[in-house]
Symmetry: C2
Subunit: 115 residues, 2 copies
């Protein structure tokens, strides 16, 4: 699971903001959640869509998202192996935010172009 970045929960109201951010932080988590909105996706399919994630990183991020209850993992006992990832209800409740982030990112692309 993603590490809690703040140990106390009874801090100022802004704390919930940071707590939420800590879940989608991690270099690939937001991207994974974004792509999972298209529906159930397999491991290597995600890998291809995300660009250049190493399998180790992808595994890490998926495991954390799963531990946080944002995604679900279903294993089919076949050969070759088949594992499907999908959004959980909680993960789906995050969709509007992911969409808003994408919209904001697109609208502010000039910011990133400078780098």
């Amino acid at each position: 699971m993603a590490k809690a970045r703040h140990s106390r929960l009874d801090c100022t109201p802004g704390c919930a903001v940071e707590a939420a951010v800590s879940l989608i932080d991690g270099k690939w988590k937001a991207v994974i959640l974004y792509h999972l909105q298209d529906g159930t996706t397999r491991f290597n399919e995600l890998r291809r869509r995300a660009g250049d994630v190493t399998p180790r990183m992808l595994t890490n991020q998926l495991r954390e998202l799963e531990a946080d209850g944002l995604i679900e993992r279903e294993v089919f006992a076949q050969v070759p192996p088949r594992v499907e990832y999908s959004l959980s209800d909680r993960g789906r409740s995050l969709s509007p935010i992911i969409a808003a982030l994408k919209a904001w990112g697109d609208a502010n692309m000039d910011l990133f172009a400078r780098r």
Copy 2:
């Protein structure tokens, strides 16, 4: 400025999502943006509200947010010194997202309580 976590911008559509996240990532940035919504705030006032930020971290985060054009910094040549931080237009355009994150965080507090 916050480091660009992805070097290429022409990646899959999810890239904008990650780019946006990278701006509010950093342990205190989201909290700072949240508190700045109440209006112009001074350095030590932010420090008190955020809980237990060290001045070094607060300076870092504020400088990055400023470099990213999300906040503005105004120095008054007085003694004792007076420095005020406020949201820029771009920063204000992020407000709905911050608010959504806070709402989501509050609604999913059970997740964080487990830690």
